[in-house]
């Protein structure tokens, strides 16, 4: 089952400049895992050392934030699109 993940600008250097990548899996977590298997350089920017999604990494299934679904356990169906959208934060 193929799904598309939209890649934000700062992560495109790790996906051969591709704006979207085809991945497969049955859940959001599996799609993300397939993505980092294909492009290993993404892993440290998406996940903490403990393997949790960083809190400024937002993942949307179609237009729904996965935090309000079943997070990485959210099931996906053919044709669903995942989007990785940064929160940009900082301060002194």
């Amino acid at each position: 089952m193929a799904n598309t993940i939209n890649i934000p600008t700062p992560l495109r250097p790790f996906t051969d400049k591709k704006e979207s990548v085809e991945v497969s899996g049955a859940t959001v977590g599996e799609l993300l895992s397939d993505l980092t298997k294909k492009y290993d350089g993404l892993r440290k920017h998406l996940y903490t050392d403990e393997g949790k999604l960083r809190n400024f990494v937002n993942v949307y299934l179609n237009d729904e934030d996965i935090r309000y679904l079943q997070k990485e356990q959210t099931p996906v169906k053919a044709g669903d699109t995942l989007s990785i959208v940064p929160s940009v934060a900082g301060g002194r």
Binding site: P8, T9, P10, L11, R12, P13, F14, G41, K44, H45, F56, N58, Y60, D65, V85, P86, S87, V88, A89, G90, G91, R92
Partner: protein, 136 residues
Amino acid sequence: MSLSLGTGVDAAIRAHGVETYPNECCGALIGRDGAVTATYALPNTTEEGPRRRFLVRPSDYREAEKRAAEAGGDLLGFYHSHPDHPARPSQYDLDHAWPFFSYVIVSVREGVSEDMTSWRLREDRSAFDPEELRSA
């Protein structure tokens, strides 16, 4: 690495920092190949105290990417101000940084803009490296 700021960009960032003082301002840098041609001011939506934090929420991030594409350019990074604090990235900046982007910081002291610097995250996320900032 270097970042050049086109006509009016330096002034726009400083003016935004002064306008929001004593709170932090933030905005997107739009351009191509290390040359910023436009800024896009964004609301600081932090809930942690805007005098020392900024947050660009995902919907505004998406809008910034869209604006960049419509302008025929790329999203090159973000700027923010450090009110009454040096223009150097903090540990908090580092913890939340994205690769590839330029992070421009302007120091605003007592309502007056001072130093402006630009930084890029190291690929292993261990630190920021300064990049040369050139203004038109």
